[in-house]
Symmetry: C2
Subunit: 372 residues, 2 copies
């Protein structure tokens, strides 16, 4: 193999695919990127067996070929070379020579046959969505997946990707809260319900531009989901099993509804968190009365309380919530005002909008009312 | 005590003094800042016994007084409050109440009597220097102090602060390299030679603006050095003992002198470092001939080499240097071209300018020449 390639384009391609290089692995070949040159295109791939990423860079080809190169050192070298054309050549022992201006590197490569193939998708269902919408739907729900396979449940560390009646719904939950985003797809689309590993879908979101005009294509078969955008293709293994029947608990009934300025509410909850130390399960207490919500926190470090103006419908209520879960949800919303729906101090609280584009559900925390 | 104070001004004062709050201590009072209110000024202090920092904020005073408050939680609260006037009040049990708009916090304070007094300086010698010059002289030498008291030598983890014939010289060394900056003082100044703990002087540099018009005043007595600038005063304990007699090894003799583009040289050395893993002592090899320097590195990861144009006076030479020490020195210099002075492969290499404003001395590393 011998090619010439613009440094910045190769560096960009490496920064894309190396998201799929595992930071720890017992299989050294997974620490490599695969470079496959054919015609005037180099396809660069990485694969950690849960997610595989491939991207295409154009190059000038003196000799076609394929080689696996250690991702870390290859990326570091390409990043540090001067901005010019880089020549990459391999010999029969997979020794890789990299030349750029006066700089010359030799590093060992590996037999490309060892590199695990990225699965091919047998098209079953296909969807089209803007980069921006997909990225935002993922980023605004991804924070509430459970830490990897906590409770031994892989479904909880995944995200539901569900199409129903031309609406896409993305969901994550960790047993204490549920985060849901839902948007209409432009085209008529087949119904589907699959679970994607949470880390893999977060990596996809990081690669998407914030562009509303550009479209990503999503293809699903029985075992994999593939995202295609720009010159890049990401293939993720699906999580086996049926996702939780969340619709049963998404009640629209409520006893109390409040409307509150989101920023003001968020600032106040974040201030209350200052008094909480890690591993401390202290809830923030919302004491809701006509026109006023008192927010308070009492821990070994100190006490805080603060009043916020609200609009209230229904009865007075006092409820304790995990302040981190509450601020995570409030940060994931853009609206100036949010509506919070409450039933009783033991039932979940819902932060949702009228058109059902988001719904953040938080389990309450038990608390004792103490006097000063 | 009861005062009203603008949030941003208090936050700024806290961000200054908390540099002197130790991250770990067995003496809980050192985790506090001291707030002393008299007239319309609040003096905020922190003191880790090696360095003490005090700064003044103006306030509206309803009641004078003094209290010690946990630095971390106090700073976090003040940072998160809305931008408005903050009221701080204490009761006879040192309970601290903080109010800002609708937000109310109560946190416990401590008896100010426990707080260790910041030493008073009995003026012995005084110097005036611009913020910019002091900051740059420190930042461009501080990187080569030894890790804290490695080799059991406190002097090596300090920096020499020496005034001689109206020139200020700041020096650090770690046994493998010496970094020296030297600048003329504006006023006639008494000769002096003291050693300042490296971390303390780095903290002072962080607090200094890059302003060339503003002046800092430095006062030294037998045990302490004090820096005064803006509304802030920093007092550092001096390190006992006589600094190393470095002038004996600062030879001006050389066998080879090269002049090289600094940026080009630095880029090349940084590229060579990519092949060095932590704990690996592999040197970068400079092979200097007429008009050309070949820079090479060979490790278990791979090989690199690169040629750079140079101007050379004197004989050919091949020398091995620690690439990190070389790039640290080259990064600390602004000049477009640097002069490197060499004697033989076992003798230190010097990077210095003609007016002696900097001198970076690096011990060479032994190496074996190997063939491919």
């Amino acid at each position: 193999m011998k090619i010439s390639i613009q440094r910045s384009e190769l560096a960009e391609a490496l920064s894309i695919v190396t998201k799929a290089v595992p930071s720890r692995t017992t299989l050294p070949i997974l620490e490599c990127v695969l470079v496959e040159v054919s015609g005037s295109r180099a396809m660069i791939s990485a694969n950690d067996t849960e997610i595989g990423i491939q991207t295409i860079v154009k190059c000038e080809t003196a000799e076609e070929g394929t080689v696996a190169i250690d991702a870390k050192i290859f990326t570091q070298i390409i990043r540090k070379l001067p901005e010019n054309v880089v020549t990459i050549a391999t010999d029969e022992n997979y020794k890789v020579s990299i030349d750029c201006e006066a700089s010359h590197f030799d590093i060992p490569g590996k037999d490309p046959e060892e590199f695990p193939e990225i699965p091919r998708i047998r098209t079953k269902s296909m969807y089209v969505i803007s980069h921006f919408m997909l990225r935002e739907m993922v980023n605004r729900t991804n924070f509430s997946i459970a830490p990897i396979e906590e409770r031994g449940n892989a479904l909880m560390s995944g995200q539901l990707f569900e199409v129903k009646d031309d609406f896409l719904r993305i969901v994550s939950l960790d047993g204490y809260r549920i985060s849901i985003r839902r948007e209409q797809l432009k085209d008529h689309s087949e119904n589907i319900s699959v679970v994607i590993p949470g880390k893999a879908i977060a990596d996809v979101a990081k690669l998407l531009s914030g562009d509303n005009e550009k479209e990503a294509t999503i293809t699903v078969d029985d075992n994999h989901i593939m995202f295609e955008f720009d010159d890049t293709r990401v293939v993720c293994r699906l999580v086996d099993g049926n996702y939780f029947a969340i619709d049963n608990i998404l009640s629209l009934d409520y006893e109390t509804k409040i409307i509150v300025n989101r920023r003001r509410f968020l600032d106040c909850v974040e201030r209350s968190s200052l008094l909480v130390r890690e591993m401390d399960k202290k809830p923030v207490i919302l004491n809701i009365k006509d026109g006023n919500m008192n927010i308070s926190m009492r821990t070994g470090i100190g006490k805080m309380d603060e009043d916020i103006d609200i609009m209230k419908m229904g009865g007075d209520i006092m409820i304790g919530l995990n302040p981190k879960f509450l601020s995570d949800a409030l940060k994931a919303i853009d609206d100036e005002e949010v509506s919070v729906y409450l039933i009783n101090p033991k039932a979940p609280c819902y932060i949702r909008d009228d058109r059902n584009s988001y719904n953040y559900v938080i389990q309450p925390v038990n608390f004792k009312v103490t006097e000063d």
